[in-house]
């Protein structure tokens, strides 16, 4: 009996083995954290100022925005070897991989451009003029719409991925940083760092549906700055990094109410979940660590020291 339980436990654990990969903006490295032991197991060198990070759909390739090297680097995550660079336009900051597993939509922060790169031919397919300082990138689950948010123009730009042209531009509050679609594609969310809000758009009409503000006790509203966010299983909640307020907010994605605030490290920026979404890993730029949050309990359970100024985070399963 006991043996069976143990075996079952072991099985469950193995099923959820995985790694969180974190870019260290001011160390030119990525840190690899085991989601089981919650320790850094490897550190690999990258190009200069690594920020955006994402895996190919089968997790065999890792894409890294090496902003100051003006390239997207492709790494073999099993060896840490840089296989090749992709053309990316200047100063790539953040990107998103299209559901076709082939096209990367890249925000070129210094150039007010979104670059579309074919990862197979390694060629630029299109460059789209967007607002000043593009940053947040998202693509709809059906692959038809890509989003770029521009920090100084304060807009979400809606790109038709068939024509690679803009079909709508919607204003949001100051310094939009991150964008995400719900899994069913019905809503698109944008965070505004200086505005201190999340704006929710109806995807079909591109009309603003709701706006969420935050209030952290003991922190001046000006310092509560939403940046990265991710949805839980089934899209019931969003976990939102609130930058220099050093908190992550838990937002009910149905009522749009903020239910909780969790204290994490300093200047919390981006995040990703482990495989079953029971743990959340947030990058804390100023304190140079990653906070592990128990999603069910809504509690920070551990801080893991990584490199200097951790920025992006991406999960990959290892079994």
């Amino acid at each position: 009996m006991i043996r069976t339980t143990l075996a079952a436990l072991l099985l469950t654990t193995t099923a959820h083995a995985g790694e969180i990969w974190v870019t260290n903006e001011k160390d030119d490295t990525v840190s690899v954290i085991s989601t089981e032991t919650l320790e850094v197991i490897k550190t690999y060198e990258t190009g200069e100022r690594p920020r955006g990070i994402t895996f190919s759909k089968d997790f065999s390739l890792l894409y890294i925005c090496a902003s100051d090297s003006n390239a997207v680097q492709v790494m073999d995550p099993n060896s840490g070897e840089i296989l090749h660079d992709l053309p990316s336009g200047e100063d790539p900051e953040q990107f998103v991989l299209h559901p076709d597993d082939r096209h990367l939509y890249i925000a070129n922060e210094d150039d007010a451009i979104t670059t579309v790169v074919d990862t197979e031919t390694r060629k630029v397919v299109a460059q789209i003029d967007v607002g000043i300082e593009p940053e947040g990138m998202a693509v709809s689950p059906d692959g038809k719409i890509a989003i770029t948010t521009s920090e100084t123009t304060n807009m979400a730009h809606w790109i038709d991925t068939e024509t690679q042209e803009l079909f709508a531009n919607t204003l949001v509050d100051s310094r939009p940083r991150h964008a995400e679609f719900l899994r069913d594609g019905s809503e698109m969310w944008v965070s505004s760092e200086i505005g201190g809000t999340l704006t929710i758009f109806d995807t079909a009409t591109q009309a603003e549906k709701a706006k969420i503000s935050f209030e952290v006790q003991g922190v001046h509203p000006d310092r509560v700055q939403p940046v990265g966010f991710e949805f839980t299983e089934e899209d019931t909640h969003a976990f939102v990094a609130l930058g220099p307020s050093n908190h992550v907010a838990v937002v009910n994605a149905e009522t749009y109410e903020v239910e909780d605030y969790i204290l994490v490290g300093r200047r919390v920026w981006h995040m990703d979940f482990n495989e079953d979404r029971s743990l959340l890993f947030t990058t804390n730029g100023v304190s140079g660590d990653v906070t592990v949050i128990d999603v069910a309990k809504r509690e920070a359970i551990k801080s893991i020291k990584v490199g200097r100024f951790p920025w992006g985070a991406a999960f990959r399963p290892t079994n």
């Binding site: 304060n154 807009m155 200086i194 000006d222």
Partner: protein, 386 residues
């Protein structure tokens, strides 16, 4: 099919008809002679201020492209000896939007012109406190911080570092004297005082003998925690550092200083603004460039959000709670509704790095911590905004 075409055309026409939103602004630079300084290491760029306004213009134009809003900026330079008031009169007759680089007295004279009534004028060049106080004007906004905001920022640093025994050396130029007055006011405000003061009245060439003169000159201060320099024209200050009799930090106009903007600011996305500016103008961004950029962006932000180019509507929006400018300083910038001053954090820097940003932690305020810097509502005697 035909009907559809008509409907489509009607829609397009409607869009074009409502799209006539164009903001034309003027940039007026009134040249003033600068006093000679001991060193000629740092020439003042000829396009100081203007370069910032042009970067702001470009930012506005990019945003405007998506909203059918257009922006234009024309620069005018008034050489020394020419009449800036006549020129301002002409510019204000053409457009109510004026970005100004001029001495304080010229600014009030321009703001008092009949053509300036209802205009939106931005002071981007002087920290003169009187313009935010008794000499304020309802049509004159300030994107450059007042001297008081900068000296308050340093006073907060002194309190936090417990540098309570302070001495000051003041130059003889009017800017130096004004800065010293502002510093004394700030020290009093934060419960500090000077234990010694001297005036810099040398006419020697410090490039050769700073190492001989400065130790002697500073010897009779005795011991102290930090030395403040009031040398706003940057004449002698650079030769005081590392030459003082006592090995103490130097602060104020040189050394650890409080500034609007500096090339060493890279936090809060500032690296992007810095690189955009440097690419366009082949030099680094100064405080005055930042103030002119903020003025242009203030107009842009107000037009973006209101879709209006009527100065009254824009003024009301800029002074409202809805207005906020993302100014690469880590928090939203807004205007003080009692004197038109742009609220902003102040950078405490040395030439190689950002040391701190005021307001410092622990300096609280009942409304907005940023109002712990400069003239707060109860102190300001400005009535034009009421």
């Amino acid at each position: 099919m035909h009907r559809w075409m008509t409907v489509l055309c009607a829609m397009c026409c409607a869009v074009t008809a409502t799209a006539e939103v164009t903001l034309n602004a003027n940039y007026l630079h009134v040249e003033v002679s600068l006093p000679p300084t001991l060193s000629n290491l740092d020439p003042v760029p000829e396009d100081i201020g203007l370069a910032g306004a042009l970067t702001g213009l470009k930012d506005n134009q990019t945003t405007g492209r998506f909203l059918d809003q257009k922006y234009d900026l024309v620069e005018t330079y008034v050489p020394e000896g020419d009449d800036p008031i006549a020129m301002a009169k002409e510019l204000l007759s053409a457009s109510p939007y004026l970005i100004l680089s001029a001495p304080a007295t010229v600014q009030t004279a321009i703001a008092d012109l009949p053509e300036a009534e209802g205009a939106l004028i931005f002071n981007t060049s002087t920290g003169d406190l009187s313009l935010r106080d008794a000499d304020c004007r309802a049509n004159l906004f300030h994107t450059l911080p007042s001297d008081a905001m900068r000296t308050d920022a340093l006073a907060q640093v002194f309190v936090q570092k417990r540098w309570t025994d302070l001495v000051m050396i003041t130059g003889t130029h009017p800017q130096d004297v004004t800065y010293a007055q502002s510093m004394r006011r700030s020290l009093t405000k934060f419960g500090l005082a000077l234990s010694g003061e001297k005036e810099w009245a040398f006419d020697a060439d410090m490039r050769r003998n700073a190492s001989q003169e400065v130790p002697l000159f500073t010897q009779d201060f005795g011991d102290y925690d930090a030395m403040i320099l009031a040398d706003e024209v940057h004449d002698f200050g650079r030769y005081v550092l590392y030459n003082t009799w006592e090995a103490r930090p130097v602060t104020g106009s040189e050394g650890l200083s409080a500034v609007t903007w500096s090339p060493v600011i890279e936090q809060w996305g500032a690296a992007q603004l810095q690189s955009r500016f440097e690419k366009a103008h082949d030099r680094q961004m100064t405080s005055q460039d930042y103030a002119a950029w903020a003025a242009m962006r203030t107009l842009g932000e107000a037009v973006t959000r209101t879709n209006a180019v009527d100065p009254e509507a824009l003024r009301a929006y800029i002074l409202s709670d809805a207005f906020e400018l993302a100014g690469f300083k880590g928090r939203p910038l807004t205007y003080r509704a009692w004197n038109g001053q742009l609220r902003q954090p102040i950078a405490i820097v040395h030439p190689r790095a950002l040391v701190a940003q005021a307001p410092l932690d622990g300096f609280l305020h009942q409304v907005n911590e940023l109002d712990s810097l400069g003239l707060d509502q109860p102190e300001s005697t400005c009535e034009a905004f009421q």
